[in-house]
């Protein structure tokens, strides 16, 4: 963790305008980064010799609309070289049309993760090569992991018809 504090200091120095806050809980450091510079910060962390966060362990979304009207995108970075973990977070304030830059150029693995976040939360990743729903079928209405989507949420009755038409067209 001590190395992580050094890295956070370095980040603060280099991206002084972009780092909004840092927090330590149970030995895990969370750095909140402005969403405009998240890609720059991540490529810096990946390429810098003293951090080398070459592995994107996880990318996910969190719905905080009910708490403060925002979405969060959370990045879990891991360095296989230094055996070190770091959590980055970006807050998306625009809850009507949430969007953030894609991480695919930095880590190709972000591709499916971002599709899942789009599928579940409706967050658009600008520049994503193939931003389509991944777990729910095309034509699904709503974003299931948002807090305002009910747990017993039903899809429109005619969805079956839509799928059937889709299927017929493809065949």
């Amino acid at each position: 963790m001590s190395e992580n504090i050094l890295i956070v200091d370095k980040l603060k120095e280099k991206f002084s305008d972009s780092i909004e806050s840092t927090k330590v809980f149970r030995g895990e450091i969370t750095v909140v980064v402005k969403k405009e510079s998240i890609v720059d910060v991540c490529s810096f962390l990946r390429d810098n010799k003293s951090s080398k966060f070459n592995y994107l362990s996880d990318l996910c979304g969190v719905d905080k609309l009910a708490i403060n009207g925002t979405f969060e995108v959370v990045y879990h970075l891991y360095s296989i070289t230094f055996n070190n973990r770091l959590r980055l977070k970006s807050v998306i304030a625009d809850s009507e049309n949430p969007s953030i830059d894609t991480m695919c150029p930095v880590w190709p693995t972000a591709n499916w993760h971002e599709r899942e976040v789009y599928d579940m939360f409706g967050i658009v990743f600008d520049g994503h090569p193939n931003l389509k729903r991944i777990l729910t079928p095309e034509g699904f209405v709503g974003y299931p992991l948002r807090k305002d989507y009910p747990i017993n949420g039903r899809q429109p009755e005619n969805l079956k018809e839509i799928y059937r038409k889709d299927y017929d067209r493809n065949v």
Binding site: R26, N54, S57, N83, W107, T109, M120, L135, P144, Y149
Partner: protein, 390 residues
Amino acid sequence: MSNTELMTINMGPSHPSTHGVLRLLLELDGETIVKCTPDIGYLHRGVEKLCEYKTYHQCIPLTDRLDYLAPMSNNLGYVLAVEKLLDVEVTPRAEYLRVILTELTRISSHLLWLATHALDIGAMTVYFYAFRERETIYDIFEMVSGQRMNISYVRIGGLANDVPGGFVERVRDFVEKFPKFMDDYDGLLTKNKIFMNRTIGVGVIKKEEAIAIGLSGPSIRASGVTWDVRKNEPYSSYDEFDFIAPVFNNGDVYDRYLVRMEEMRQSNEIIRQAIDRLPGGSVNADSKEVVLPPKEEVYNTMEGLIYHFKILTEGIKPPEGEVYFVIEAPKGELGYYLVSDGTDKPYRFRIRPPSFVNMEAFSDMVEGQLIADVVAVIGSLDIVLGEIDR
């Protein structure tokens, strides 16, 4: 003059070699795959959503059903994340028993992989042998938890109950016999000419690509990356055991086979060490707010009754905060990201499934290969759709 065009065929979602409900759209030029588009989501049950509506204890059975071939690993990863959130210390006996059962799970998961992988490529005999040993392991699970597959045996702060009498002898019996069985599988496959022809040089992924695409577990160790969560970030007393994480360099189907074969032997050694040094004492942490009191206390003491009701009606309330905990599941790096808002239910329950990310690398592996290699590569990635679709 010849006129050629690509042919698109649909493999799955109900195909015996896709190991569940995976659908692959293959664009073929003759027998060569030009483009492969996996289509997932057929088994999506919304586990992450469901868990937001359940108390921390009620989430445990849902985690069983992610990677249903390794329920113990899923339980353990989740419970360790909650324990980190709560800052609870677990007793040494519970940790050792967790290690024994997780490694047995790893062996059973790898045995199923071995059986079906060999069957897909055309070697049928291994299937019957591997399932015989898997049966022995499931009998041990049944003895311990009353269940064979979805065992839900781990609890926050410890285990559901202590292991029954005769457990140690049965595990030791298995551990003694297992290396001999491994030699049998080795003899059937490792130097088998047909098996080698089908697997060597197939589905290759290089070290740098493997890291960038996010492979983990045995699949990345076959590409020459020395990284095992049990070694790098030891949890549940894994640092007290002497074992190696095998690494091979070619990154093809055959090397992924070799990694998993060696892992089974190593897991067997971990179990042997753990069973020899199994500590005594309680399996539950001394933490009244988290662990349910034993039944005698509930019936006979006022305090026990109060805590029993408190935990069952109000649930556990971890402090506000967030943790990310990863373990080495049989398929790779399994992560749980929990966000707590101080109530009895998780605010956000995120699962980082290893199979989901490993599947992402699949297209890169098969494009340019022959159509017959698809089943070999799927088998070598060891995917489970319950975990991919959640």
